[in-house]
Amino acid sequence: MKLPIFMDNHSTTPVDPRVLEEMLPYFTEDFGNAASRNHAFGWKAEEGVEKGRSRIASLIHADPKEIVFTSGATESNNLALKGVAEMYAEKGDHIITCVTEHKAVLDTCKRLEKLGKRVTYLPVDQYGQIDLDELRKSITDKTVLVSIMYANNEVGTLQKIKEIAKIAKEKGVLVHTDAVQAVGKIPVDVNDLNVDLMSLTAHKLYGPKGVGALYVRKKGPRVRLVAQMDGGGHERGMRSGTLNVPGIVGFGKACEIAGEIMPEEMSRLTGLRDQLRHAIESNLEEVFLNGHPTERLPNNLNISFAYVEGESLLMGLDDIAVSSGSACTSATLEPSYVLKALGVGEDLAHTSIRFGLGRFNTKEEVDYVIQKVINNVNRLREMSPLYEMAKEGIDLKSVSWGRES
């Protein structure tokens, strides 16, 4: 077993060697510009791009013509929200999203609000799901878009996208989903879900960083967007800029592999994740699962370890890469807004750890992580005044804490 162990696969994933192998010729031999229509270098590059486009489309059951390449999911989200808001400005000025979205959606919405659009941020329940009735009630005749993420990047909760789309479609409203964490991890079918726009990125599914895509429905309805990048009119006018050919080739290969091994990978990662969860729960008291018990990504585990501050636990797990919702790990000193939205108290939010399992994690690694987590939580609890007070029977909620730090 090689140390350090990477178990932070929601942040990014390593490039699969099979992906890299397929990309390499496109850096050197086949380096052409896919927009060069009059020579072999361009044709070869275009061939690579179109093969990638087909493979990506195939993974989400879309038509290749519905795939618009971008630099990543942040750009895809920006293009979807801003592009729809601008294109359908005459129809309405209202967008519905939810409070646990990625910042790429939330901050785009804030920008749109500054430009005069109205945005409804739906709350979520204790598991991280929106209420469908609340969604229904929020839609007005001015609503142009509902944008709800498929799977949450912190707690792994899956939203009921199919039902959400059904409600929006009944009222003639377009649906966008940021499916960055879901695509390649669980089956995703744009037609079964009946969504109009979907953001994807390569680096979350063992492809390279710097390449993403936006699925834009062509039929029933034909979705139109105002381009947010002016230039040569690439990607059917929706996104100008020379295509990242090696990136797209790699993205395509990554999607092909994900599609082929998905059933096996899902069950293997679910098994490892459940092993990790059960070992932690049976060896440590007062640990709390964050997110939905069943409706969650197979590779996600998010747990609060009461009385142990998250960053101090990360420090103890010095040869394991995981992440924490603790304030101390963020630049703002605010604990995770996602956990807060789920109603996790700030005290417990500070103690949360996110484990993101991936294709290259082994059982041996999970065993190692389990042991190290248990040892460190026990050690830090021995050092924790809160644990001591709780053991003495003091209700920590009733204590009047002298000073806000």
Partner: protein, 127 residues
């Protein structure tokens, strides 16, 4: 963010972790911070009534590595000092010793507050 060697050393080998009897009249207990803020420090000192010298110090901390290191460090610093000397310890000295980055300065402030709170508790018991 990488931690400095001194912070890692205090985190891995914390000095003087433990608790003393809160009701002991020679023991001053200071608990500062709040769980919602992600930091709670408990500092306890045992003071010689005659000399006013801090003879022992113990801490327990819920917080990040820098908070643990700051409290571990002050238990070393206050031992052997008189109450008046201990009150002169400034958070900036902790920042300097541990090389804390700006975002962790509040950990040092909390440690300074913990000393003051423990001494105030001791003095209250004397009155």
């Amino acid at each position: 963010m990488a931690y400095t060697d001194k912070v890692v050393d205090h985190y891995k080998n914390p000095r003087n972790v433990g608790s003393m009897d809160k009701s002991d009249p020679t023991v001053g207990t200071g608990i500062v911070g709040a769980p919602e803020c992600g930091d709670v420090m408990k500092l306890q000192i045992r003071i010689n009534d005659q000399s006013g010298v801090i003879e022992d110090a113990k801490f327990k901390t819920f917080g990040c590595g820098s908070a643990i290191a700051s409290s571990s460090l002050v238990t070393e610093w206050v031992k052997g000092k008189t109450v008046d000397e201990a009150l002169k310890i400034k958070n900036t000295e902790i920042v300097e010793e541990l090389n804390l980055p700006p975002i962790k300065i509040h950990c040092s402030v909390l440690a300074e507050d913990a000393i003051k709170a423990a001494i105030a508790d001791y003095k209250k018991k004397k009155d």
